[in-house]
Amino acid sequence: MAETNNRNGPTRRAVLESGAATGLLLATGMPAGAQQPASATAIAATPGPTMPVSLRINAQDFAVELDPRTTLLDTFRNHLGLTGSKKGCDHGQCGACTVLINGRRINSCLTLAVMHEGDEITTIEGLAEGGRLHPLQAAFVARDGFQCGYCTPGQICSAVGMLGEVKDGWPSHASADVAAIVALTDAEIRERMSGNICRCAAYPNIVAAIRDAAGEA
């Protein structure tokens, strides 16, 4: 079932990706020695042996053959057609790839798909119920919590996980007393969402959307 989304002919995505590869070398303006060495590219391109992996994503079961190197994010995007989760930095710094594993938010770029058999995985595609937006999705729309929208799936999944953590009484770095019960102030929201970067800087509206959704919860 993983292959059902394969299309014939060049796709917009494939064209963008091939363009991005050449564009990177031109755009960085760094000396040739500072680029990814050619050997590393060759290493990455070498196919390794695959293994069968079963994943449960958005209450649906998927069976895929994967090179064990495949991150959970690349599995969604390149093998299962679930392109809602975004690749920003691919190093766990930007949060665009945030998804929920058994209700907990994580960076899907920093984990291997083979390590998530048996887990209940939720991506942005799995948040709405029967065509009705998740309260956080609705709040982001109502508050205009984005500009370009690239970080938004990660922001929303992260916020879903974050509000669960608040509900469970977890403290944060912004909490004056880690042993006390926490009230979700704007300072708390900002600290708890610091793993999600928005280069458009839509932060005031993102905070407002999360505040609204927290009030409804």
Binding site: R105, T111, W170
Partner: protein, 333 residues
Amino acid sequence: MRAFTFERAGSAVEAAAAVAARPDARFISGGTNLLDLMKLDIERPAHLVDVSRLPLDRIEDTEEGGLRIGAQVRNSDLAAEPRVRSHYPMLSQALLAGASGQIRNKASTGGNLLQRTRCFYFYDRNMPCNKREPGSGCAALQGFNRMHAVLGASDACIAVHPSDMAVAMAGLGARIETVSPSGETRTIPIDDLHRLPMATPHVETTLGHGEMITAVTLPPSPPGRQIYRKVRDRASYAFALVSVAAIVEKSGDRIRSARIAMGGVAPKPWRATEAEQALAGAVASDRAFTEAAEAALAGAVGHGDNDFKIPLAKRTVRHTLAAAVEGMREVTE
């Protein structure tokens, strides 16, 4: 990323044996540091042994009144644990000052201790680095070194250990439990887990290949008020320039005992024992805190860009001690 084979270990001893069997094998738990380094071709394991599902994820009371934290307890679970928040608040504070919510949900207790430095030159394959390629030299010595060590470094390496959690654990006198491939267990004081770089900065710990951390035990909560204070370039999600974990126990107007550990300044969590000795029995005053700060940084050496860390660390020690004393209720026993 280079190709590797993958297996999931059924038990701790099985995992230790699986890694010991191959020099190119590594444990993987949260993977937040290892996978990042593998993508950059800095770590190159040919075999990964997944230990993340081992039943080492419990936090239990010990007979002596402390806590035993399984190596697979996630950083976020440890920070949110009620016994840690009440009795070891500086450990919660340190954990919450590190990384992001997403990473804390993945990163394990054992993995946090064993994470590698974030030195820019260690991360840049085009630069020499004695830690990455022994004998190639240290680019940080003459390079951009504002994040680097002022204590415990060597001519071969001035990288710092990046953990916040480990600094609080050093202040609390934690002990590290391990299991070896033969099934033997041992307990290592946290101060003996990480090695100083000396001439061999690529050898970072005293663990053998295949020896796996199974738990961290904390002694009973020490008397006194605990504070973890972290100074960094931005308010959240950044590594420490300097951090201080302090526990101060007062008796009348004097300090009965103090414990101080520092982060961001050394290749390992840095226990400032001279400063602790300077404080024991002293009248709790700014003068005593200043003397303790001087003692803590007595052997510090700057490398240019990081010279500022020495006065910054002194001020942070002084202010953290003052905050621990001022915020303390008088205990009458």
